[in-house]
Subunit: 253 residues, 2 copies
């Protein structure tokens, strides 16, 4: 079994976050060409929602749970991010990558915002046949709240652990985690305590960069390092050469 790479495309990388589901098809095409050039890699792709889903989730307060009134928001949020997923899958297939979309709402159960059931063996089976499963941040059913939002970052950590991945990358629209305009090369829990990276400026219901670091520190606790880098460095990340970004890892003893 070849090692599986888990790669996330940030929502702001593939959409214009200031618009309403404004998909950046040119960027998607560039990313697809890069992934097609690394077709031998066993890959699971995850993408954020960006402006496809975040506005709906916010409008319907989906992350706060279900009341009588906001139930249509489950469909509306899911439909918006699913349309982005279709665009990602189509871009990949256009370059010959055997991509298939997987929607977390269809399989996941959460409790108070955290996944408690999430099958991954069929996803592993796909990668063994050269299929690239493409998942996304999504609304999912939550047995305490009714519904919640599961971020792409939470999915990345869940998949990385389940698939025993040792190569986890997050492609963003910045060169890495920035502090005073400079990339922080390595973050562990002690470094994280000193950082002030700020929230996401746009409509992100999942915690922006702070939420991302919290997820990835938990992944580091499980012994899996992760890499945050600019989307233009995907090829270098897949090649294992320097990407100039941030590595999130376990505290040095």
């Amino acid at each position: 079994m070849t090692e599986t790479v888990v790669l996330k495309l940030g929502g702001s990388v593939i959409t214009d976050k200031s618009g309403e589901c404004a998909i950046d098809h040119a960027r998607l095409h560039e990313v697809a060409e890069e992934l097609a050039a690394h077709r031998e890699t066993a890959l699971v792709l995850v993408h954020g929602a960006g402006s496809c889903g975040h506005p709906e989730a916010r409008r319907y307060h989906i992350n706060d749970g279900l009341t009588g009134e906001n139930i249509p928001g489950v469909y509306e949020t899911h439909a918006a991010v699913s349309s982005l997923n279709t665009a990602v899958v189509d871009a990949l297939r256009d370059t010959g990558v055997e991509a298939i979309g997987i929607h977390p709402l269809d399989l996941a159960l959460a409790e108070d915002g955290r996944l408690v059931s999430f099958e991954t063996r069929h996803i592993a089976e796909m990668t063994e046949h050269g299929i690239v499963p493409v998942l996304h941040g999504d609304v999912v059913m939550d047995r305490l709240r009714g519904s919640c939002i599961v971020s792409g970052d939470q999915l990345v950590t869940r998949l990385a652990v389940a698939l025993a991945s040792r190569r986890v990358g997050l492609a963003t629209d910045v060169p890495g985690v920035l502090q005073n305009g400079l990339v922080v090369p390595r973050i562990d829990r002690s470094v994280a305590a000193t950082l002030d990276v700020g929230g996401s400026g746009n409509t992100d219901v999942t915690g922006g960069m702070q939420g991302k670091i919290a997820e990835l520190l938990a992944l580091a606790d499980a012994g899996i390092d992760s890499h945050i880098f600019h989307v233009s460095k995907i090829g270098r990340f897949l090649d294992g050469t320097g990407h100039g970004g941030t590595i999130i890892g376990r505290s040095m003893p």
Copy 2:
């Protein structure tokens, strides 16, 4: 918790099986109106693939497993039946039913053609909030074959058991199970042994009426009766009045 009804729409009910993904939108609209009139019912809907998916599954020999060559057939088959699922969900939402599509490929794992992993707690959570999950026969990953086809009938039995449903209905384009042109009112294992119902005349890779009866006899063994009736009788089935079709049940002692 209200009792959940599991209702299946046969593929030949909502598509023209002699065409290639020829969706019968008028029929879908009629069914949607009927379900909208029974909106108080907690309902899980399953539909067959009909001419959306069966031709692709057959062309790529998806049910025989994955080889190097036929891997694109997973996507092609799934995309075809997913397009039918979208049409079903849209028809329901147009009449005000809070329908959401759930794709078995996204959650299921099979072994030699039978489901071995299939989460249903999120589906139950949906029905408790008045959402109607709409599933469908689909290609799924299979840990022995690589891939297989899971029929809508297999999904019905799995869902009925998991959701402890006591009202399971299968709407078809015939009035029930026919023997010499007449409806057989009740089938148990002893009656089934004497039947010659024939196969499906069109491109059905899941066993037609014989496969259906085999699934439903297994469901009867688990103590759950099921009803096969003409699609025009959905309202009568939901009302619990006579539908003039076939009941599949356990053998009388």
